[in-house]
């Protein structure tokens, strides 16, 4: 198996990973940054990440490289079009980001029911949206960002259904008065969305169509209503990607990778930054990335300079979490026949017969399919209050050759 040595390895080229790589390089370390996407940038800068690299970048970036497993204490196993290799490091920074949370409701498996951030990613990848009628549902500021983007790309009509309550939302916006820059961003977004209805206390009840989505039922403040649309884009907040960290032995608490003041995980020499340590958005991800990068690079003084900004960004993250907490009624959305696990077609009713995620997996194969529980685990955690974090290698379906190569070492 091919082997690559580097001083600091950074996994994930989103805002956190890019900041970490730049900081570690500024400490004079040899840095390798890898990401499984075709380009750097992570979720927010998808496809335009090169613009966010300092030019000339003082570190090496390799895209199309997916890290699939730990390989001893100071190496990981990665696969790419070129094959399998072992990446060996002195220090490791994990910055694997987050994915969207999807909640099951009748019809959520119909084609053209998609993620909210997911639809934005698809359109950035060339999926045509001009002329389409789109309902964006779920929770959080991401819904507005997605709506503004889809509008700029020519979506015909848009409707936003935010599950959180009107009062909570109003209180959150008032709270922004103490953060003028965020308030300005919010108002700009609202202006970009002039004329787009934003319903609060609203969520999808069901999706209908023959072979693909045609109509949805929405619960609103004024009761139920139908809405014909081409796409329903749903996102009920974000879920940290902790699987790889767990495989490396890092402690995971309440769904987030646990870190200390310097973003160090419970495993010596391994740091974590960005959404995987707790959902906080762009600013927090960058600040954490910088702290982790300086700490991994050995410059403690510079790492500490980020502690104040991180405290402020975390305060904002907590306000967001309170404002967009998911309401109890969403647990009642699926009926017994609604699927929970889309990979193995396991219904909510079948899974509900078991006392835990572990038992449900054993008896129904729920969470054992291609996505390895990344979609249904977060849904089951919300619906049943189960702890759904059991990382088993590989961190993502790996090619047989990758797994075989691992046993040669």
């Amino acid at each position: 198996m091919a082997e690559r040595r580097t001083e600091v390895l950074v996994i994930g080229a989103g805002p956190a990973g890019l900041a970490a790589a730049a900081a570690a390089a500024a400490c004079g370390r040899r840095v390798l940054l890898v990401d499984d996407n075709a380009d750097p940038g992570g979720q927010i800068w998808r496809g335009e990440g090169r613009a966010h690299l300092a030019v000339p970048a003082r570190f090496e970036v390799r895209c199309g490289v997916r890290v699939v497993d730990a390989c001893g204490a100071s190496a990981v196993l990665a696969e790419s079009a070129g094959g399998v290799e072992r990446l060996t490091f002195d220090r490791l920074v994990l910055a694997t980001g987050a994915r969207e949370r999807f909640l099951p409701f009748p019809g959520w498996t119909l084609p053209n029911v998609v993620g909210a951030g997911g639809l934005q990613a698809m359109v950035k990848g060339g999926v045509p949206i001009a002329g389409k009628r789109v309902v964006i549902a779920g929770s959080g500021p991401l819904l507005l960002a997605v709506a503004a983007y889809l509008r700029s790309r020519g979506a015909r009509s848009l409707l936003i259904a935010e599950q959180t309550g009107r009062l909570r939302l109003a209180r959150f916006v008032l709270g922004l008065a103490g953060a003028p820059q965020r308030l300005r961003q919010t108002l700009e977004l609202r202006r970009a969305l002039a004329g787009v209805p934003l319903l609060t206390d609203a969520w999808p009840l069901s999706a209908h169509g023959a072979g693909r989505l045609e109509e949805i039922r929405l619960r609103t403040r004024r009761g139920e209503r139908g809405e014909r649309c081409d796409l329903l884009a749903c996102g009920f907040g974000l879920v940290p990607n902790t699987e790889l960290a767990a495989l490396l032995g890092c402690r995971v608490e309440a769904g987030c990778v646990a870190v200390d003041e310097h973003q160090a995980t419970s495993v010596a020499g391994v740091y974590a930054a960005g959404e995987m340590t707790g959902i906080g958005g762009l600013d927090l991800s960058r600040i954490e990335g910088e702290i982790a990068g300086y700490a991994a690079g050995g410059d403690e003084r510079k790492a500490r300079a980020g502690l104040g900004p991180r405290r402020r960004a975390r305060r904002f993250a907590r306000a967001l979490e309170r404002a967009f907490a998911l309401r109890e009624e969403l647990r009642e959305l699926p009926d017994a026949r609604t699927l929970l696990c889309r990979c193995e077609d396991v219904s909510v009713g079948r899974a509900a017969r078991y006392p835990s995620w572990r038992a449900a997996k054993l008896h129904t194969r729920c969470g054992m399919g291609a996505c390895q529980g990344r979609i249904c685990g977060a849904a089951a955690a919300f619906l049943f209050g189960w702890r759904c974090e059991h990382a088993r290698p590989p961190a993502s379906p790996a090619r047989i050759a990758t797994l075989a190569a691992q046993h040669e070492v």
Binding site: D36, N37, A38, Q43, G47, R99, E100, F102, T109, L110, P111, N112, V113, V114, G115, G117, G118, L119, Q120, A121, M122, G125, G126, V127, P128, G211, R212, R342, C343, E344, D345, G369, A370, C371, R374, I375, P397
Partner: protein
């Protein structure tokens, strides 16, 4: 103008901009169904970022490739299970 790429989706000729995903080519071809579930239900892309595996298609004879993660290449042959 970005360069155009020609490929086939279920035997049909489709053109997309260079840099487009295979999922984009499916959408241009009007195909919303990527695969059938274990019970035979139609499924299409969900997460858009390579996590859910719902967008799996056959590309140049290789099954189970995630269409949202793979970029189109000239003369690619894409097949769905719809």
């Amino acid at each position: 103008m970005p360069e155009r790429i020609a490929l086939h989706v279920n035997g049909r000729h489709v053109e997309v901009d260079r840099g487009s995903t295979v999922l984009a080519a499916l959408a241009v071809a009007g195909v919303a169904i990527c695969r059938r579930s274990v019970q035979g239900e139609p499924r299409g892309a969900l997460c858009g970022i390579g996590v859910c595996f719902e967008c799996r298609v056959t590309i140049d004879g290789v099954a189970h490739r995630r269409s949202c993660q793979i970029l189109c290449r000239e003369a690619m042959e894409v097949r769905t299970d719809g």
